[in-house]
């Protein structure tokens, strides 16, 4: 057998999904990735960057549109027998006991009952579930359920253990705990797979576990580059090198143009007529700006996230939206409030709506278009269909709906237009003199 250093390789893989409005959406564009024996690779990227899609292509669950996947140098068609996966939602069968769940893959392979039982017991011990063999998943806590998920993957002794956000359905402490145990197992060298491929949103998680962090860019998903994590294990989260890497990855993640180390960033994206609106509610944007303003106008994002007990991904949409609207600027993991942002954060209700409106009109061309159409139509109304059809040309169905909802939310906040959800129609907002009067009055008091 030829000696190959790669367990699993994706060569120039692209994936497009058809859009229901016709046309297609490119989710991954010429992505190449190799997983070598003995390494932990983390895929990091924003929501929608195609991480899960790439993982499933490598697992053989999805066929790539172009490009090939090889395992040990042989092209892969159909489910990859060398991998086992740990799922975000655990994917346990509730009507089977812990033991039956754990040995599912072995019995399917035709392994005799006694052997399968023994293997499953061993794996369950490894994840600290001895004594729970006869329990049903619903009797277990979330963390224990995911342990069963790990045990089920461990018994397969896969070449590559894949995990798709394995800790994100758990509460913070439980996740921390389980993450630590997995990392311990890996460090002790008793890990039952040769390599790990991890999909995550969580930057600290990636740096804690991975040898290499592959960063995916959005729309279309492509590899922006990778960061090598050259910190000796066990890793200390508060060590200076760790913190520096966290800051670096934050910078890369918050700034689509920033260079990722080692690999030059791909050529700049062509500008789009329809930039993707971050899915942030207007209330979230103003909330974030007020917090930043109160905390001095400049804030370290990782710090802010951890202070607010949020994952970075919960925070990013509001940060992105603030940047898009010119309320804040983001650089090197820091977010700084702009003058407009300051005014917005401190203004009274009426004035803040107005500022929002100005920024929205000048920075999101789509709103201006909508407004023009509304003003030109005699009845001053347009159907949701009309807008969603336009958006459908550029986004998937799901995404088009989200874009629409975001636009509606922002437009309403800016008092630009109103939306009747029953009739699914947009119409021009009534002039709000009475509101302005009231504002003026309260200011006079």
């Amino acid at each position: 057998m030829a000696h190959t250093t790669s367990l699993l390789t994706a060569e120039r893989v692209s994936k497009t999904f058809p859009l229901s409005a016709g046309g297609e959406q490119t989710v991954l564009e010429t992505v190449s990735l190799t997983v070598a024996p003995g390494e932990v690779v983390a895929l990091l990227g924003r929501s929608g960057s195609g991480k899960s899609t790439l993982l499933r292509i490598l697992a053989g669950l999805i066929e790539p549109s172009t490009g090939i996947v090889t395992r040990h140098g042989v092209a892969l068609h159909g489910p990859n027998p060398d991998v086992a996966m740990v799922f975000q939602s655990f994917a346990l069968l509730p009507w089977l006991t812990v033991q039956e769940n754990a040995e599912l893959g072995l019995t399917a392979r035709g392994v005799p009952k006694e052997n399968a039982e023994k293997e499953a017991m061993y794996a369950l011990q490894m994840v600290g579930l001895e004594g729970f063999e006869g329990a049903y998943p619903k009797e277990l806590s979330g963390g224990m359920r995911q342990r069963v998920g790990f045990a089920r993957a461990f018994v397969m002794k896969p070449d590559v253990l894949m995990m798709d956000e394995p800790f994100s359905a758990l509460d913070v402490l439980t996740a921390e705990n389980l993450r630590g145990e997995i990392s311990d197992l890996w460090e002790r060298g008793s890990f039952p797979s040769k390599s790990i491929l991890l999909v995550t949103h969580n930057i600290e998680e990636a740096i804690l576990l991975a040898d290499r962090i592959v960063i995916l860019g959005t729309n279309p998903g492509r590899i922006r580059g990778e960061v090598r994590v050259d910190i000796a294990r066990p890793r200390d989260k508060s060590g200076p090198r760790f913190r520096a890497l966290v800051d670096h990855v934050y910078t890369v993640m918050t700034n689509p143009e920033a260079a990722v180390e080692e690999v030059p960033a791909a050529t700049a994206k062509p500008t789009k007529r329809f930039p993707m609106l971050p899915h942030a509610r207007s209330g979230g944007i103003s909330g974030l700006l007020e917090i930043i303003y109160d905390r001095g106008g400049r804030e370290d994002l990782p710090q802010l996230a951890s202070d607010l007990r949020l994952e970075i991904d919960d925070l990013l949409p509001a940060v992105d939206a603030s940047a898009l609207l010119g309320f804040a600027s983001v650089a090197e993991g820091d977010v700084t409030i702009t003058d407009t942002g300051k005014e917005f954060a401190t203004a009274g209700i009426h004035r803040s709506h107005e500022i929002f409106k100005e920024q929205l009109l000048s920075r999101v061309p789509l709103t201006a278009t909508v407004l023009r159409v509304l003003e030109q139509k005699r009845d001053g109304r347009i159907g949701k269909e009309f807008l969603v059809d336009i958006l459908d040309e550029h986004f998937s169905d799901d995404e088009a709906e989200k874009q629409f909802q975001t636009l509606i939310d922002w437009g309403r906040y800016a008092h630009l237009f109103e939306y009747d959800a029953d009739e699914e129609r947009l119409y021009l907002a009534e002039p709000e003199e009475d509101v302005a009067d009231r504002d003026a009055q309260s200011a006079a008091d």
Partner: protein
């Protein structure tokens, strides 16, 4: 194979051990996921003889005996169709008739289940099959089953020439058509909505087709299947009663059973006999509910997909079963061989790891679509030509007018039932104790075949001179209204308590409370109930627009009466016309009324 053989070896050893009275020593056996069906939990597996065993053992024996005797009757008595079995109105014969009817119901249920698995699986697994099977199912659901009795009776009699079995088959088929579609839809839906990650897990961990079916697909659809089976089974009594005694092609066919008993009682103007039949029916519905459906529902409850720990549903039959050791003994004896069988089936259905290359060429798809379209258009043309060659265009217009009359009746009865039952249903639903007591009652009312009550209503109509044009509405409502009530109660129960408290605290009362809280809260359930009720009413129109008592026959102007007339005289073009028109009416109403309402309920009034 070796495993199966070993299984048998173990089987005999077990029996030996049981006979030697060494049962008390715990025997380890392999529980096969899905074959244990969760009837027993591990902690209860130590058997001890019990009075429960007596009950379970006796019950099983009685059941086997009745089934064997009744089954033999319909097989052995070869009657040429000219010799029509007579029905004796002596109430002492009722248990026998009831047993024969029940057997029909369960055979039909068996076929429905089988059909459900095959059809539902095919529709969910193959994209092409799906494109034909799902719309077809939609149409089949809207076809009035009773209108087709004439076709099926003729067909089955020809098939089993000279035997009562033809009539049996026709009756079973009628029940089957009343049960199967709902169950199939539910199964198909469940298959399509298996959570993606579970599906990916099954693929990646290499589950064989058999394992995928028994470990993943069947368990995750079993709740829907059981509930739909239960509701459809209840509806099936109606078709049973209508199909056991039917005049087709100028000939009266009678099949011994509860339904034909009632029919004979009506012909003989014997009100006592009708009364006895009703009592029997009530007992039967209750028995089957307690001994069959409730246990099934209780067991199915274990197959909830969500992982939240909740209180386990309990039921006395299931508890009895669990307390008894007989089932455990059987499980112990059969366990190993079932295990071997399970492994064998799994082995033969293993998915080859590299075989999955689903190439779907677009041209082949297009060709397929064209063929399907041409075939369906061709069939339609043939049907239309057949009808037009037999009757004129004027007849079509006439039938369509009758269809409008029936449609008006169906809508009016829905409105009336809504006005009457919604306040009552909401009152019940808001009172947890009352709801718990009354829900099973309503459910039993829903499965009680309304046509058993027709004679009483008919008598009232004759007595007070009420024209059946109006009266038929009441007859149709007798069966349909319960679905509405049932669903409204469920909807009211589902209105969250804090919303109701909020309404009270802000002083929402009267009309405003209905408008802002209750109305939107129960809308979704009401739509579900109304759809079911409307389907039931259309079907019922065929037996409700013509009723008789002795020699007096009342008749309403409507499409149901039209079909019933055509059926009894064997007028094929009119049968096809009537049934076709009714299907068109039902499908159209579905499209323009129910689907939009349903969507509205889903998008606007979803509580959660």
């Amino acid at each position: 194979m070796a495993e199966a053989q070993r299984g048998f070896g173990i089987l005999f050893k077990r029996i030996e051990r049981i006979w030697n009275g060494r049962l008390a020593t715990p025997v380890r056996f392999s529980r096969i996921p899905q074959f244990g069906i969760g009837l027993r939990t591990e902690s209860e597996s130590r058997p001890s003889f019990h009075s429960a065993d007596l009950a379970v053992g006796l019950g099983t024996l009685v059941l086997l005996y009745v089934a064997a005797r009744v089954g033999a009757e319909s097989l052995v008595k070869f009657n040429p169709p000219d010799v029509i079995p007579t029905i004796s109105l002596d109430p002492r014969n009722l248990p026998n008739y009831a047993a024969r009817s029940t057997l029909r119901m369960f055979i039909a249920l068996g076929f429905s289940t089988l059909f459900t698995f095959v059809y539902g699986y095919a529709a969910a697994r193959s994209r092409r099959a799906e494109r034909v099977l799902v719309p077809l199912l939609d149409i089949l659901q809207s076809v009035p089953v009773l209108g087709f009795l004439s076709v099926t009776v003729t067909l089955f009699i020809a098939l089993f020439r000279g035997s009562l079995l033809g009539l049996e088959a026709a009756s079973i088929f009628a029940i089957f058509t009343g049960q199967a579609w709902n169950m199939t839809f539910s199964f198909y839906q469940s298959l399509r909505t298996v959570p993606t990650e579970l599906d990916e897990m099954a693929t990646l961990y290499g589950l064989s087709k058999w394992e995928r079916f028994t470990r993943l697909e069947l368990p995750s659809s079993v709740i829907g299947l059981v509930w739909n089976g239960m509701m459809s089974f209840g509806g099936g009594w109606f078709f049973l009663a209508a199909s056991e005694s039917i005049s087709v092609l100028n000939r009266q066919y009678t099949l011994p059973g509860l339904g034909s008993y009632v029919a004979s009682a009506i012909a003989a103007r014997d009100l006592h006999a009708v009364g006895w039949a009703i009592v029997t029916m009530v007992i039967l519905v209750l028995l089957i509910d307690q001994l069959f459906w409730k246990p099934l529902v209780t067991i199915a409850d274990r197959y909830k997909l969500e992982l939240s720990a909740g209180e386990e549903r309990r039921f006395w039959v299931v508890d009895l079963w669990r307390a008894a050791s007989l089932p455990a003994i059987f499980e112990r004896i059969l366990g190993p061989s079932l295990f071997g069988l399970d492994r064998m089936l799994s082995h033969f259905t293993r998915v080859e790891p590299h075989a999955e290359r689903r190439s779907t060429s677009k041209t082949a798809d297009r060709v397929f679509n064209v063929i399907v379209s041409i075939t369906s258009i061709g069939l339609l043309v043939v049907a239309i030509r057949f009808v037009l060659s037999g009757v004129g265009l004027a007849e079509v217009g006439h039938a369509a007018l009758l269809g409008l009359a029936t449609a008006a009746r169906v809508l009016a009865l829905l409105v009336l039932s809504t006005i009457v039952w919604t306040p009552i249903g909401v009152a019940i639903g808001f009172n947890p104790r009352l709801a718990r007591l009354s829900q099973p009652l309503v459910q039993i009312c829903a499965s009680f075949p309304a046509n058993f009550l027709f004679p009483f209503a008919t008598l009232v109509f004759i007595r007070f001179g009420i024209h059946l044009n109006w009266g038929s509405m009441l007859l149709m409502a007798l069966g349909a209204q319960w679905y509405l009530l049932f669903n409204v109660i469920g909807g009211a129960q589902a209105v969250p308590n804090d919303l109701r408290e909020m309404a009270t605290s802000i002083g929402l009362r009267g009309i405003r409370k209905w408008r802002f809280l209750i109305g939107p809260g129960i809308f979704g359930s009401w739509v579900t109930g109304a759809i079911t009720a409307s389907g039931g009413a259309w079907n019922a129109s065929i037996v409700a627009e013509i009723v008789s008592w002795g020699h007096t026959t009342l008749r309403a102007a409507g499409l149901g009466a039209y079909i019933a007339d055509a059926t009894s005289t064997g007028d094929w073009p009119r049968i096809v016309l009537g049934v076709g028109l009714m299907s068109v009416f039902v499908v159209t109403l579905n499209r323009i009324v129910w689907k939009p309402l349903y969507r509205l309920a889903q998008t606007r009034f979803q509580l959660s």
